[in-house]
Amino acid sequence: MPMKLICTVKFVPDPDSFTAGRNRLILNPDDACALGFALAVKSGDPGVTIEVVTLGPLSVRPHMEDLLRLAVDRGTLIWDSGLEGSDAFVTSRVLSRYIADRPCDCVLTGSHSLDGGSAQVPVQIAESLGLDQMLGVIRIDPDRFDPTRAVFQAVDETGVTTWKMAMPGVLSLTRESGYKLPYPALTDLRRDVSEDVNILTSRDLGFSADQVGRAGSLSRVAGSYPVTYGEKDPVVVGTDDDGITRVVDFLKKKGVCR
C-alpha cells in the first residue's frame, strides 16, 4: 500500500539577509530535508502521495508553487489576516486540525526552524493528533518505512541511536540528515501551477477570531533586540615563528600550557 505523507514546512527569513528591510524568504533547512526524504521515497514508489502544508502569509505562494514543481501532489497554504501574530500554540492548533482531516501514514517535519528554533510545533502537532514523535532524525531506513512502522536514526546528547516507532507518527528531521530537494525537471520548471495551491483560511478550518492570532496565543513576544558582544582590541600576529611564540606565551600566561 503506497504511503501518504504530509510535510509541514515553514518559510523563514534568510539568515544572510536579516539586516535588510524586507527579508528574503527561504524554505527552512530542516523542513527542506524532511521534504527531500519524502520525495526520495516517492521516487522509489510513484504511488506515494506527498502533501505540503504551511501556515504563512500569501507572499509564500510562489515558494509553494516551486514545491509543486518537485512532484509534490498537493500544496496547502493556510492564511488570513486573523492568523497574524499567532504563536507556536496557535500554529500547532491550526496545522493539526487540518492534518486531522487528511489521514496519512507519516507527518514529516523539520526539527528546528531558523527563525524561532523552538521545535514546539512538530511536538504539539503530534500531541494533538495522539501520535508519537521524534526530534533529531538524521536517517530513515527506506526499507523499514511503511504504514505500520519506521526505523530511523536520531541524534541527541548521548549520540546516534536507532529507533523503531509505530506509524502513523511524526518524524522531525535535521539538516545533518543530508536529504536534499531534487532539481525540478525542465518541463516542470515551465509548468503553470499558479492555480494548484490550495488556499484555506482559519475560518475554513472552523476557528473563530478569538482562537487565532494574538487573541488565541498563549505567549506574547513583548520585544526583541539585537545581540551585542563586548568587543576587544586584539593583538594581531602572523603564523611566522614570532607569531606562534607569542601565542604560546599567551597560552602560558593564561595557564593553558607550561
Binding site: P13, P15, F18, D87, F89, S92, D115, G117, S118, Q120, V121, V123, Q124, D132, Q133, M134, G136, V151, V155, D156, T158, G159, V160, T161, T162, W163, K164, M165, G169, T174, E176, S217, L218, S219, A222, G223, S224, P226, V227, Y229, G230, E231, K232, P234, V236, V237, G238, T239, D241, G243, I244, T245, V247, V248, F250, L251, K254, G255, V256, C257
Partner: protein, 317 residues
C-alpha cells in the same frame, strides 16, 4: 509561596539544580518551594537542594518516553498546582515540554537564557533568529509559566541546604509511546565540551585539517568543538557544535580556528575568558571579540603550534 516544578535532566542529573537559578530569577531566593521530578536518578543527589523530591516509581515509565513523562507531569500539576514548570532544554525535554504545554493550555518559552521581573511581571529572554536577536516573552493566561532552559545558561551556586521531603509517584500511566530503542550506533564521549576549560574549535577554514584539532586539544588538555558549518558538511558531529543550534560554552580559553564568527556561532559563547582567533581575514566578526588574532591559515597554524608545543626531535631527520 510559589510552587516550582523542575524535571530532572536525565542525561546530566547534576545539572538539574542549575534550573533553580531560573526559579530564583522569577520569585527570589526565598519566594518558592521547589519540587524536582526524578525519572532515572536516585534522590541522594537532590537531597538538600530541593524542598521536595518526587521520585517516579521504578519501572513506571521509561526514561526516554516523552508521552509517559508528560502524563506524569500533568498529573503532578493537577495535584500540586505548580506556578511554574521548568524543563531542561535537552532533546528529551524539547519533546516533553510542548506536549505538556499543549495539555495544560499554557504558553511555552523555549531555550530560555535569562529571566527578570519588571513591574511585577516575569520577563523571559530567549535567543531567536539563529541567535541574532534576543526576544522578551511575557507569559499570558492562567496556566503555569512553562519554559525549557537552555543548558548552561543558568548556574546555581552552591548554597545552604534546605530540608527535603521525598515522595514516590506511582500514579498509573495510560499513555506510552511506541518508541523502541534498537541500538546505540555512536555513543558519545562521556565528557561534554561544556565541561572543558579549553576548547579548540574548528570552522570552515579548518575543514581540510579537522582531525589535526584533536592532538592540539589533547596537548592543551582541552576538547575539540566545531562550528555549524562543519556539522552541516558532515565533518564534525553535532554534539560538539557550538552556537545557537548547538551548545553554549564558557571555557577559559577558546581557540577559534578558521571560524568566521556568525551571530549564530557567537550565540554559543557565554562568558568565555579568552579567545584566540586564527583567520585569514582579520575583519572576521570573531576577531573583534578576541584577545589575540593570528592572521593566517588555520591548518598551517595548527602544524606550527604543535611543533612549538611538542617539538619532535626526529622531525626532518
Amino acid at each position: 509561596m510559589k510552587q516550582t516544578c523542575i524535571l530532572q535532566d536525565t542525561e546530566t542529573p547534576e545539572k538539574t539544580r542549575d534550573l533553580l537559578a531560573a526559579a530564583v530569577g522569577m520569585y527570589g531566593r526565598d519566594g518558592f518551594e521547589s519540587h524536582v521530578v526524578l525519572v532515572n536518578a536516585s534522590p541522594e543527589t537532590f537531597t538538600g537542594r530541593f524542598h521536595h523530591v518526587i521520585r517516579v516509581a521504578e519501572g513506571l515509565v521509561a526514561d526516554n518516553d516523552p508521552r509517559a513523562i508528560t502524563e506524569i507531569l500533568e498529573t503532578l500539576h493537577q495535584t500540586y498546582g505548580f506556578d511554574s514548570i521548568l524543563i531542561p532544554g535537552t532533546t528529551l525535554g524539547k519533546m516533553i515540554a510542548p506536549r505538556l504545554a499543549w495539555r495544560l493550555r499554557t504558553g511555552l518559552a523555549s531555550g530560555v537564557t535569562d529571566i527578570t521581573v519588571r513591574d511585577g511581571r516575569i520577563e523571559i529572554t530567549r535567543p531567536a533568529r539563529s541567535g541574532t536577536i534576543l526576544e522578551t516573552i511575557l507569559p499570558e493566561g492562567p496556566g503555569p509559566v512553562m519554559m525549557t532552559i537552555r543548558t548552561h545558561a543558568f548556574e546555581h551556586p552552591p548554597e545552604e541546604t534546605v530540608p527535603t521531603r521525598i515522595s514516590t509517584c506511582s500514579l498509573p500511566v495510560t499513555t506510552r509511546s511506541t518508541l523502541t530503542r534498537l541500538g546505540v550506533d555512536q555513543p558519545l564521549e562521556s565528557r561534554d565540551i561544556r565541561d572543558y576549560e579549553v576548547l579548540v574549535a574548528g570552522g570552515g577554514g579548518a575543514a581540510r585539517c579537522f582531525p589535526a584539532l584533536k592532538p592540539l586539544a589533547d596537548a592543551l588538555n582541552g576538547a575539540v568543538a566545531a562550528s555549524r558549518k562543519l556539522v552541516d558538511q558532515g565533518i564534525a558531529q553535532r554534539h560538539i557544535q557550538v552556537g545557537q543550534s548547538g551548545k553554549t560554552v564558557s571555557p577559559k580559553m577558546y581557540l577559534a580556528l578558521g571560524i568566521h564568527g556568525s551571530m549564530q556561532h557567537l550565540a554559543g559563547l557565554r562568558g568565555v575568558t579568552s579567545i584566540i582567533a586564527v583567520n585569514t581575514s582579520p575583519h572576521a566578526p570573531i576577531c573583534r571579540l578576541s584577545d589575540m588574532v593570528v592572521q593566517g591559515d588555520a591548518c598551517e597554524f595548527i602544524e606550527k603550534l604543535m611543533d612549538k608545543l611538542m617539538p619532535n626531535p626526529h622531525k626532518n631527520t
